[in-house]
């Protein structure tokens, strides 16, 4: 009897613990169920967690009380969990609740930046509006937007955008107008313009080679500079990048623009007609230039496998004997970040903020594209619960996007972060690197003076920005808060003066279906051609043989749109 009682007790405890585990993991563990039930439940229980008042007819945002807002973001929200996200979230909730007149809870799901599109795809596949993990709004690249805008998962925000309060302050209306499809639908909202990459050159390396940045005007000049850098020491190289070309993300050529010049290894519109740029002679020529540079030992071979982080870290590494002299990367804020990282690694300490110089587009780029490529802007999208009413979606727009560009409190949160955590207007003084006489820097601010504070997770650096770049934003702040970092301003000015808009990303069913295959094949062929395994001509011939029919079908579909 005792044994039975004991076994009963143990069993009950185990079942209870199992049940407890099950109830905790149920939302994540019911993927197949959710997917299976999607069609049946979409009209039955839309946005279940957010309101009990889901209307079936078109309605205004007032018909819907948004209590919780789930957003999915990538690494561009720099106020990460380790970097004061709680304070950002709390201040956002307070400010937006005050604006809307009812409390709103913000849930931020910040995904791994490198696998962002894959994770988003899984979130949108396995969930539905109302699920705790399902995003109400999320960030998408221009490429992702093109892939998703025909799926019915995204809300057409054209009307909401047109009627938004911030319209009167928008200085760059073309950014979002250009994003509308041929029927005028707008599935993504870009609060900033795209930005792009410029070529940074280490000043000390230029000096050592007896060169001046102003003398680098053509590809030959550029190549001679790289060659000099590669010959600087036995382990040095001219240039590094995260791939010879980044063929999975528009604008594809921005990490090695001097080599790609007028080529565009994807589908783009040329004189009003869609073409497959990978099959063009310009791509063959670009691959030949890259192959020559690879054979000459000018391009760091780590380029092939390097991600952006690895390429960056090698560029500003404290071991400059295996580093590179040139790195093409994002303009503006990244000039400051790269410079600060070089300072951290004690590279070229004597040069201060002049460690890096920016190379103006070489003549061959000017003659083809006209300048560095300004990519299509990343956007915010709102998921559509497909209940026939826009009440929920309009409420999300009002809470998130309308307030994001309010010119004041909430826009400041998205631009600079949380008050008294990332920035302040209170009198204060602080010192970065207090223990290092070479790098020590004092900061002192008077009461009422806007300034950025020390980074929450690194008191030796000053905070730069949050999600919105104040220089790129389409509707500037009206409260006068301006980051006065001259280096960042100079970087942005340089890019703005030397950029052109990227071609619009292509979108059609066959492309979406075959994009992964095409990207994989093109990347393989590009790498093989650059490393001399095959000739550039063979690479294109192989591409035509393997996927030429699909490419033609895509071109035909695009031109028929």
């Amino acid at each position: 009897m005792k044994k039975k009682a004991l076994s009963l007790l143990l069993s009950t405890a185990m079942v209870a613990s199992l049940a407890a585990c099950g109830s905790e993991t149920a939302p994540a563990g019911t993927d197949t169920q959710t997917a299976d039930n999607t069609t049946a439940t979409q009209t039955e229980a839309p946005a279940a967690t957010e309101t009990a008042e889901t209307a079936e007819t078109p309605a205004a945002a007032e018909d819907f009380t948004l209590e919780t807002l789930n957003i999915v973001v990538d690494g561009t929200l720099t106020a990460t969990v380790e970097n004061g996200q709680d304070a950002f979230k709390a201040q956002w909730e307070a400010a937006v609740s005050e604006k809307l007149g009812h409390p709103v809870t913000l849930n931020i799901n910040q995904l791994d930046h490198s696998d962002y599109s894959g994770t988003v795809s899984r979130l949108l596949t396995t969930g539905q509006p109302g699920d705790p993990d399902y995003p109400d709004a999320l960030i998408m690249s221009a490429t992702m937007l093109r892939q998703y805008q025909t799926t019915g998962l995204l809300w057409d925000m054209a009307d909401a955008y047109a009627n938004a309060e911030f319209q009167s302050r928008v200085t760059l209306p073309s950014v979002n107008e250009n994003m509308k499809d041929s029927q005028g639908h707008l599935y993504g909202f870009a609060p900033t313009y795209g930005n792009g990459c410029v070529t940074y050159v280490k000043k000390s390396w230029l000096d050592a080679a007896g060169m001046s940045i102003d003398d680098i005007k053509t590809f030959d000049d550029y190549y001679a500079m790289l060659k000099a850098f590669a010959e600087k020491e036995s382990g040095t190289y001219g240039v590094i990048a995260a791939g010879y070309g980044k063929l999975d993300e528009a604008p594809y050529i921005n990490y090695m623009p001097e080599f790609w010049q007028g080529a565009y290894p994807s589908f783009y519109q040329k004189d009003g007609v869609w073409v497959d740029g990978f099959q063009e002679q310009a791509t063959v020529d670009a691959l030949a230039r890259l192959a020559q540079a690879y054979a000459d030992g000018i391009i760091d071979p780590d380029t092939e496998e390097a991600g952006t982080k690895q390429a960056r870290e090698k560029f500003f590494s404290n071991d400059q004997s295996t580093s590179e002299g040139v790195f093409t990367y994002w303009a503006g804020t990244w000039l400051r970040t790269l410079t600060d990282n070089m300072a951290k690694q004690e590279v070229d300490n004597d040069l201060g903020d002049e460690r890096l110089v920016q190379l103006a587009p070489i003549q061959e780029i000017k003659d083809t594209w006209g300048g560095y490529i300004n990519r299509e802007a990343p956007v915010w999208v709102i998921t559509d619960d497909q209940d026939g009413s826009s009440a929920r979606e309009q409420a999300i727009f009002d809470a998130l996007l309308e307030t994001m560009l309010d010119g004041d409190k909430v826009q400041t949160l998205w631009t600079y972060g949380a008050e008294d955590v990332h920035w302040s207007t209170k009198a204060e003084s602080f010192t970065t690197n207090p223990d290092d006489p070479d790098k020590k820097k004092d900061y002192e601010y008077a009461d009422g003076e806007f300034h950025l504070k020390q980074s929450p997770n690194d008191p030796n650096t000053v905070w730069k920005k949050n999600h919105l770049d104040p220089v790129l934003v389409i509707a500037p702040l009206t409260n006068g808060f301006v980051d006065s970092d001259e280096l960042v301003q100079a970087g942005n000015k340089f890019f703005t003066e030397n950029c052109v808009d990227a071609p619009a990303a292509a979108s059609c069913d066959t492309l979406t279906e075959n994009e992964a295959t095409l990207v994989e094949l093109k990347t393989t062929l590009m790498n093989q051609a650059v490393t001399g395994e095959i000739t550039p001509e063979d690479a294109i011939a192989q591409y035509q043989a393997e996927v030429g029919d699909i490419a033609q079908q895509i071109v035909d579909e695009l031109n028929a749109q």
Binding site: M14, G118, T125, M144, P301, D302, E304
Partner: protein
């Protein structure tokens, strides 16, 4: 003529008085109750997810699920990439199995011949260690070690010795990828593989060696005529047991391959991974179909190995 009956017996041959299931449950209610959570756990964790195999008959993109019958399998069999991955899986797995087993046997024999216990134990510890390193770490080490750039130890060393004039891109060269992959596997797994062979070696009757000594056998002859034959049964069992797992090749390939060597390195699991996780809007139906095919082939291999095991050692593996 009496009918021959199958009567269950105990290990001593005494017949078991078999009662009905309900009686047995009633008599041992407590134990069955204790087993219940385990049964529930197994059903939920191992069997419930298997219901997902039905998606191999659907097109499953984002939230759109449409019945397509066998279309995913037709697509799969028509794709060159699939057959490349399938063929690579078998070639790489079987070669790796043979090479690492041979290396483990060789090292076991050498270790068995060592009489200095301190040296033997130290060596064993050293060769076991790589087994406990994760594949991600191993890949990072070897990629750095074999890199073509100026940070690559092997290339820089060979160049400084004058053996090479230009660096070799070891892991990006098709002809070199597999040999390097096998070498890394040998380095990582040989030590651990010796455990079972050393156990077998320790069980060899010393009288066999003494008899060989009396017959005037040399050391090599004793290895060849006593040690190796004694090991062969274990070698065959190890090979059979591992043969059932040949399709489960993912991590080691995933961390070491790259798109320039896909032709010789891509295996079914990495192919499924790329189709599922590196595609903007994946068709989970198609990738489930590939996974299902892999499982069916794996299942067939297990059954074949079970049959082979029964033939060789008198009992199966399942």
């Amino acid at each position: 003529m009496s009918k021959k009956q199958n009567v269950a017996t105990t290990s001593t041959g005494a017949p078991i008085n078999k009662k009905s299931l309900s009686t047995r449950i009633k008599n041992n209610f407590g134990y069955y109750l204790m087993f219940l959570p385990v049964l529930v756990f197994v059903i939920i964790i191992y069997y419930w997810p298997m219901l997902g195999v039905r998606y191999s008959f659907y097109e499953y993109k984002l939230r759109n699920i449409n019945w397509v019958g066998l279309k995913n399998f037709q697509t799969m069999f028509a794709k060159k990439e699939f057959w490349t991955a399938f063929s690579n899986t078998l070639q790489i797995s079987i070669t790796k199995l043979l090479i690492t087993t041979f290396a483990s046997v060789l090292v076991s024999v050498f270790l068995n011949e060592m009489h200095n216990m301190f040296a033997k134990k130290t060596l064993q510890t050293i060769i076991y260690l790589p087994h406990f390193m994760s594949w991600a770490v191993v890949a990072a080490i070897f990629q750095l070690f074999l890199s073509k750039s100026s940070t690559g130890f092997v290339n820089e060393t060979l160049k400084s010795w004058g053996v090479l004039t230009t660096s070799i891109d070891f892991l990006h060269t098709k002809s070199m990828w597999r040999p390097i992959f096998y070498m890394i596997n040998i380095w990582k797994e040989t030590g651990w593989g010796t455990v079972i062979f050393l156990a077998t070696l320790s069980g060899i009757n010393p009288e066999l060696y003494e008899a060989a000594d009396i017959d005037g056998a040399s050391r090599l002859q004793k290895i060849w005529y006593v040690t190796v034959p004694a090991l062969m049964n274990t070698v065959i069992i190890v090979l059979i047991l591992n043969l059932a797992k040949v399709l489960n090749l993912f991590e080691s390939v995933f961390v070491l391959y790259n798109n320039r060597v896909f032709d010789v390195s891509d295996v079914i699991s990495t192919y499924i991974y790329r189709q599922t996780f590196l595609t903007a809007i994946p068709d989970y139906g198609y990738t489930t179909a590939v996974g299902l095919f892999k499982s069916l082939v794996g299942c067939a291999l297990v059954l074949i190995c079970n049959w082979a095991s029964k033939k060789i050692r008198g009992r199966g593996i399942i």
